[in-house]
Amino acid sequence: MSGAFTPRNIVAALLFAALLLLPLYAHFANDRFLLTLFTRIIILAMAAVSLNLILGFGGMMSFGHAAYLGIGGYAVGILAFEGVPSGFVQWPVALAASALFALVIGALSLRTRGVYFIMITLAFAQMAYYIIAGLARYGGDDGLTIQKRSQFFAPINLTDKVQFYYLCLALLLGALYLAWRLVNSRFGLAIQGARSNDTRMRAIGFPTYRYKLVCFVIAGTLCGLAGALLANHTDFVSPAMMYWTRSGDLIIMVVLGGMGSVIGPVFGAVALLVLEETLSGITEYWQIILGPLLLLVVLFARGGIDGLLGKVRHG
């Protein structure tokens, strides 16, 4: 069962091999759009991986995760606008701002449960959305164009699309490794225990609130990094990147890919965004097709794509 050649591992390996070779293909096929699309997919996959830490492993149904995309993105955008182009400043600020936001939101919302938790995370994210939309100096509703991508030392040049793609891919792999270590550590087991049965965990001696809060902050910070990448990718930030429907997209990626599986959200992000791209090419009303597809996954494949792959037997 836990051998290396499970269907899940084979698909994951093929996917990452394809992602690794994609710039090569895009180069020879002269398809620049493909590279742009997959850079976006990889960045959003990273955001979904971070959401899965709280949603899939921690059982915390946050409906405001896109807020961190916006906060990470605006940290880069605002600093670039104010004449601080260095990535060594921008990125740590993006991470710190996201972490701080997550700490405050988490500290308040984790005192509630169920529907209230969903609503309170949604409310805070929408609050952040309106605050940013109100910043007239930084474009308000219209957003803010980033003239210069984050500056790092000499060989690293984010304006090089291929280099930027590989940077995002490397960071996604790093995020996956981090998530994998995390969920199998003592901390990870405590979090999963709290997801499964919070009262029992407290009865056996876990102050679950603290563990969930730290998990919430880790997830927010990681998503802030995805936000910083996204801002560099589009050379533009706008409040739309943190609108609540974007939080919904991230949840769909996690559910579609497989909650509580480290790699699942990557499957989900690739599937959702490729599907969105293909379907919207066929018809303007692509969501009419996507909707029922999601319904089928929720009804018949609880574990998402990852769960389906896990069920496939050899031979």
């Binding site: 003592r186 225990g193 102050p207």
Partner: protein, 253 residues
């Protein structure tokens, strides 16, 4: 009385108009198996919930091993050595049997802000967990998800989790509930063994088990203690017969 491990004084809890715990006093000596019995709705589970810290009492004091624990949260009481099992099976069902017990060990092995090392490979967590499973006879099932166990096995797993933290005292809320005669007998045997090492407060409906195991018995009716004493005294107590035992015997006969 001075060396009571658990001492409860004038404990009270009401839910709206219902008095669930009414001026309850209880004193349990170290090494004693103390049973709490009473008809349905007598407030037995409410009492355990207050002792374990799940519910805050409205009034009264709870002392455990020399500490006033009345205001301590659940996890702090657990760290002091007060372990609880649940009447309604309360496990992490989607985790493995061994994971469940290992978490109970982990809870007492310092904080869990350890983010990197694979916890499933740590012998200092897995070893005590395996020995707790062995004590309740579940070793062969350790790799199954907890949801795959039978009801009787869930009760055993509950007990293993309570034991894994090396507690000084167990609060057992109806460990025999829903067990078949054979499983019940096994549970009684297990409790008889545990009783040699631990102080136990047992809430139980199974009178046969209670009278077989208890050193002392407290009878609760409508949240009030109506009698407390050795099993023979309780059996002979007219008030208890009226309120409870008579009723049970009438139902059986």
């Amino acid at each position: 009385m001075a060396d009571a491990l658990l001492q409860v004084e004038s404990l009270a809890k009401r839910f709206g108009g219902i008095v669930a715990t009414d001026d309850v006093a209880l004193s349990i000596a170290a090494g004693e198996l103390h049973a709490v019995i009473g008809p349905n709705g007598a407030g037995k589970t409410t009492l355990i919930a207050q002792l374990s810290g799940q519910l805050a009492p409205d009034a009264g004091r709870i002392r455990f091993a020399g500490h006033d624990i009345s205001a301590l949260p659940m996890y702090r009481r657990s760290h002091l050595g007060l372990a609880r099992s649940f009447q309604i099976t309360s496990l992490c069902l989607d985790l493995s049997v061994l994971d469940n017990v290992a978490l109970a060990v982990q809870a007492h092995a310092g904080h869990s802000f350890r983010f990197w090392r694979n916890a499933r490979g740590e012998t200092e967590l897995r070893q005590p967990a395996r020995s707790a499973l062995a004590r309740v006879g579940l070793s062969a099932r350790e790799h199954l998800p907890a949801s795959a166990l039978s009801h009787g096995e869930h009760r055993q797993l509950e007990l293993a989790m309570a034991l894994a933290g090396n507690p000084r005292m167990l609060l057992l809320d109806e460990p025999m509930a829903g067990l078949g005669p054979e499983e019940s007998a096994r549970m009684v045997g297990m409790l008889r063994e545990l009783k040699k090492e631990l102080t136990i407060l047992l809430v139980e409906h199974d009178m046969e088990a209670v009278f077989a195991l208890a050193d002392r018995i407290t009878v609760l009716v409508y949240g009030r203690v109506i009698a407390s004493g050795a099993p023979d005294e309780i059996r002979a107590n007219a008030q208890v017969r009226d309120a409870y035992l008579g009723e049970a015997e009438a139902a059986h006969g």
